[in-house]
């Protein structure tokens, strides 16, 4: 026993030490990072963010230098706070607050104290910076916009938040990241790669040369330039037309799916969200809950499409072989159905009509008949609706389009399940007539303007579409993503499109848009007047109809397909139709021949209309 004591103590000490070493060196990995913080200073070299060009090579977004005042809290020494605040033009409370935040983030890692100084502010400060230990200036680059338009498409950049830093270790406090639009969608391409320099420090925090001879240092890689599909001029013109109105214009090139213009109104100038101005301006835009300037109506606005949707029902009727182009259908100022003599109203027009003039005059009775037949062709209304839905969704309606912009909405195309639920099937039964509003694009049907523009492109292409997209080329190399380069087929056979297209052409010849012709261009279009409601003090109140228009041109060789949507603009040809003609002229001719239309649109405002439901007084609609 006496011989064993020291043996045992020695052995157990050995075990304890090996365990302790294992804990320190292998199990607890935090020491490795502590040592990095301790002994190695990491300096980042920020790359140039990629520029953004429009489809014609016009520069839209580039960079300007900016300077952040950074702090490493543990290196702070007492300093003249009053002078410092004066230099930076900030309040002392704010400085104290930001310093506290920086301590909380990390005493060793730099945090931003004052972001994004301009060149002039920087020049003034640079001289005096050495007086303030622990502070230094980090050069970054800010966006510099060469356009006042397309803020909703381009998006903006801002400082990363803590959640983003946690998610992606590439980002450090104070780094900039794309927050919306193309900047967000293509952040990884635009940002490039930071360069890293590691510098070995001694315990006095002095640099003693590059860490491991610079073996781990990297050079910054500049971001790549993007060419987007937007036509800056068309975009600007669209925004000009939309001034004082609310709504969206989405224009697509049918042969490629490229988005030519994506207008939302009201909107804001992109430069409002640059640098130090961003925060107050963003707050202002964010809290404007009435006009909602940050809401992209072209991508996110879900509206009842109204009459343009009739083109799809015509195509389904032909495909399902429940109507031919010759059959004439009577309209007695509406469509009567059901045992109680319910009526789907219509306006006055020649009757009876076959398909082409039916489209041109937008006859509700015609499409109600066709729609009902398409549903009732099947044994049960459930089968009929689901089959109808299959056709409709093949045009990209009722679900996310899969475009390359970070926001979007599904819209709504109802299925049998929806109606079963609504009518409490099988307790109660429902029939095709219960869904008759779908015939004219009202009722449960909802679509976003970009979905309608895409649907129009599919009609122009006679049966297929390319998923709409905003990216055209990276560093001059055209994109190759199959998502955007392989066409998607609709369920409608090619030959059925000709009569529908002819009907849309007749809209301009003898129909609802005959006064909107553009000399020399055969336009095909369809007006829409969509009823809509709001709630005032809990009561459902009808508002002035939305003015909707879809069109493509030229008929023979479509170059542009678009959807114009003007909230509360009354009938389709009034606002949306005029704008559609003007956009088409602008794109195809490059100039405006219908100055009369242009003057009318530019001189009319809908602000009064938008004020009505907020006024608290009774008001009239559709004036």
């Amino acid at each position: 026993m006496r011989k064993l004591l020291l043996y045992l103590i020695i052995l157990s000490t050995g075990f304890i030490f090996v365990f302790r070493l294992f804990y320190l060196q292998v199990y607890d990995t935090s020491y490795a990072t502590l040592s990095e913080d301790n002994a190695i200073k990491v300096i980042y070299d920020y790359p140039q963010r990629g520029d953004i060009y429009d489809r014609n090579g016009k520069l839209m977004v580039t960079n300007q230098p900016s300077y952040d005042v950074m702090v490493i809290p543990r290196e702070l020494k007492p300093f003249d706070t009053i002078e410092f605040c004066k230099l930076l033009n900030i309040e002392k409370q704010k400085l104290v607050k930001n310093l506290k935040k920086a301590w909380a983030y990390s005493p060793r890692v730099p945090s931003v104290i004052i972001p994004q100084l301009t060149k002039n502010e920087y020049a003034y400060l640079q001289e005096k910076m050495r007086k303030f230990n622990g502070f230094f200036i980090q050069k970054r680059s800010l966006r510099n916009y060469h356009t006042d338009n397309a803020a909703n498409v381009l998006g903006y950049i801002g400082e990363v938040n803590n959640a983003q830093i946690k998610k992606d270790p590439y980002y450090l406090s104070g780094d900039l990241i794309g927050i919306d639009g193309v900047e967000k969608q293509y952040e990884n391409i635009l940002r490039g790669e930071k360069g890293v320099k590691r510098i070995q420090k001694d315990r006095f925090n002095r640099d003693i040369g590059p860490y491991k001879g610079g073996r781990y240092d990297t050079l910054p890689v500049n971001g790549k330039d993007l060419t987007i599909t937007l036509d800056a001029e068309l975009q600007a013109y669209g925004q000009k037309l939309m001034a004082n109105k609310r709504g969206g214009i989405v224009a697509i090139e049918p042969s490629t799916g490229e988005i030519l213009a994506l207008v939302t109104a009201p909107t804001y100038k992109p430069e409002l969200l640059v640098g130090r101005k961003r925060s107050p301006n963003f707050t202002k835009l964010y809290y404007d809950t009435i006009a909602k300037p940050l809401f992209d109506r072209g991508l996110q606005g879900e509206y009842p499409p109204g009459s343009p949707f009739k083109t799809i029902n015509a195509l389904i009727g032909l495909q399902e072989n429940v109507v031919n182009t010759e059959e004439r259908i009577y309209c007695r100022l509406g469509y009567y159905y059901g045992s109680k003599g319910q009526k789907l109203g219509c306006h006055s027009h020649p009757t009876p009509l076959n398909m082409i003039p039916g489209i041109a005059h937008s006859c509700n009775a015609y499409f109600a008949t066709v729609y009902r037949r398409a549903i009732e062709k099947y044994d049960t209304p459930q089968e009929g609706i689901d089959n109808w839905r299959r056709h409709v969704t093949s045009f990209g309606l009722g679900n996310y389009l899969g475009n390359d912009l970070p926001v979007g909405k599904k819209g709504n195309i109802p299925d049998a399940e929806d109606y079963n639920r609504a009518y409490e099937y099988p307790t109660y039964k429902w029939y095709a007539t219960a869904t008759i509003s779908n015939a004219i694009g009202q009722g449960e049907v909802l679509a976003t303007p970009i979905q309608l523009a895409n649907m129009t492109a599919a009609i122009a292409n006679k049966g297929f579409y390319f998923t709409p997209h905003i990216l055209k080329a990276i560093d001059g190399q055209p994109i190759k993503e199959e998502q955007f380069t392989i066409p998607k087929q609709t369920t409608i056979d090619r030959e059925h499109f000709d009569p529908v297209i002819e009907g849309m052409h007749q809209v301009y010849v003898m129909g609802t848009a005959s006064h909107l012709k553009s000399p020399g261009i055969n336009i095909c279009g369809k007006t829409g007047t969509a009823e809509n409601f709001t709630k005032i003090d809990g009561k459902k109140v009808q508002l002035t109809d939305h003015s909707v228009f879809i069109a493509f041109a030229p008929k023979e060789n479509p170059q542009i397909a678009l959807c114009v949507f003007v909230e509360n603009g009354y009938y389709g040809a009034r606002y949306a139709g005029r704008m559609a003609t003007l956009m088409i002229e602008k794109h195809i001719k490059g100039e405006i021949t219908r100055k009369d239309l242009e003057n009318w649109v530019l001189s009319h405002s809908l602000e009064e209309e938008y004020a009505k439901p907020l006024s608290g007084k009774p008001f009239k609609i559709n004036q």
């Binding site: 020291l6 050995g14 320190l24 060196q25 990095e36 002994a39 070995q200 001694d202």
Partner: protein
């Protein structure tokens, strides 16, 4: 040197010694290397050059220890002990003060630290005393004499002040115990250490109450054997007295820096800048080594000089950082092997003198090893004593070399004993 003696040297111990010294020098080289200076082994302002010189001189010492007749050590143990004590006393007159401690004699640019040699002298003296025919360690009188032999040098070292080096003299408990010191000393020692730590972590009342409850439980279970309750009461009173005096001494006699050192290890205080800086930096350096380390001369903490005293007391943190878990564990294993080998050799000695001396060597080396690595890895409070064969310093290296090689000589000579 006769050929037979050379062959009977325990070469395994020598090999372990050489590995530790060689690896130690590599780490001292890395820890003291400065980026700007070019390597020159003959530039004796450089720490690594000086250590290389110390190693060479220690080889000369080894030759001398082996050349001397083994009987010399036993015969002159008393004289060596007295000279050693005088050299410690002489410090009070001629000593040179380096960083607050008057522990050195200065000869030009080199200094000698007599306390490093006093351990050898004390080991020899204790071995001599215990091996004498009339000594009986079971007797209180002889116990007192043995304690005096051990305590005298320690008492001279404490006021230098160098309490760390004095603490090492506790290592002599191991040979005493091996030679028959009653186990009650051991139990009291451990109980005292346990109570000391428990009192600091909790407080006297909690500790005393807990022990009282334990005693009551034991009494209750043994009630049929009619235990003598007054013994239990007496021990409880002793425990209470001890706890309160620890509490009193800690709060009123200790200086703040001592309190801080304990509080940091006990986790009662977190301080990474002031007193806890050394330990914290040392843990960071070791912890950042990972499995295999950053490579020789590649340690960022070592290069940056973040760990104070890294080439002396904290040399093991360089091992941890640059050689990782594998390297650091290897060193721990080498030390354990060396210590166990020494114990094994001690047990095969035929004379009490050699055996006691062997146990002293193992005890001293173990105490240094345990306290040093315990401190560097943050398990023990900061107690500044070197890691044998590893830490920079001539006196230390020579002291340990003498200590070990005198034993190797004694061991090699055992065949001539009968």
């Amino acid at each position: 040197m006769p050929k037979s003696t050379l062959a009977s040297i325990d070469w395994l111990t020598v090999l372990l010694f050489l590995l530790l010294v060689g690896f130690g020098w590599m780490n001292i080289y890395s820890a003291s290397l400065e980026e700007s200076n070019s390597f020159s082994i003959f530039d004796f302002t450089q720490v690594y050059s000086r250590q290389a010189l110390f190693i060479l001189l220690s080889v000369a010492l080894i030759v001398i220890t082996q050349a001397i007749e083994a009987k010399f050590y036993e015969r002159f143990a008393g004289l060596i002990y007295i000279i050693s004590l005088l050299s410690l006393l002489g410090l009070f007159v001629f000593g040179k003060t380096i960083s607050g401690a008057t522990s050195w004699y200065s000869f030009g640019s080199f200094s000698l630290q007599p306390s490093e040699f006093a351990k050898v002298a004390t080991s020899l003296a204790l071995a001599k005393f215990l091996s004498e025919m009339q000594t009986n360690i079971g007797l209180l009188k002889d116990q007192a004499k043995a304690f005096l032999i051990i305590a005298l040098p320690a008492l001279f070292i404490i006021p230098q002040p160098d309490p760390g080096s004095a603490l090492v003299y506790a290592a002599f408990f191991f040979p005493l115990y091996r030679e028959g010191l009653a186990a009650i000393y051991l139990i009291i020692l451990f109980a005292a250490a346990f109570l000391f730590i428990a009192t600091l972590i909790f407080n006297p009342i909690i500790v005393i109450t807990t022990i009282a409850i334990v005693m009551i439980v034991i009494l209750f279970k043994k009630r049929k054997q009619k235990p003598k309750i007054r013994y239990y009461l007496l021990s409880l009173i002793f425990v209470a007295g001890f706890c309160y005096s620890v509490n009193y001494i800690f709060n009123n006699v200790f200086e703040q820096r001592h309190r801080d050192r304990f509080n940091i290890v006990l986790g009662k205080e977190v301080d990474t800048k002031g007193i806890g800086y050394n330990t914290n930096q040392s843990e960071i350096a070791i912890g950042s080594g990972g499995w295999t380390g950053k490579g020789w001369k590649e340690g960022t903490q070592t290069k940056g000089g973040f760990v104070p005293e890294q080439h002396t007391d904290y040399i093991f943190s360089t091992v941890g950082e640059e050689w990782g878990f594998l390297g650091a564990s290897l060193i721990v294993i080498l030390f354990i092997l060396l210590l166990l080998r020494i114990l094994q050799l001690a047990e095969r000695q035929k004379t009490i003198f050699s055996r006691v001396y062997g146990y002293s060597v193992a005890g001293i080396l173990f105490t240094h090893f345990a306290i040093n690595i315990g401190m560097v890895t943050g398990l023990l409070p900061t107690i500044g004593i070197p890691l044998p064969f590893f830490s920079y310093g001539g006196s230390g290296l020579w002291g340990f070399t003498l200590l070990l090689f005198i034993f190797i000589k004694l061991d090699a000579n055992r065949v001539n004993e009968w």
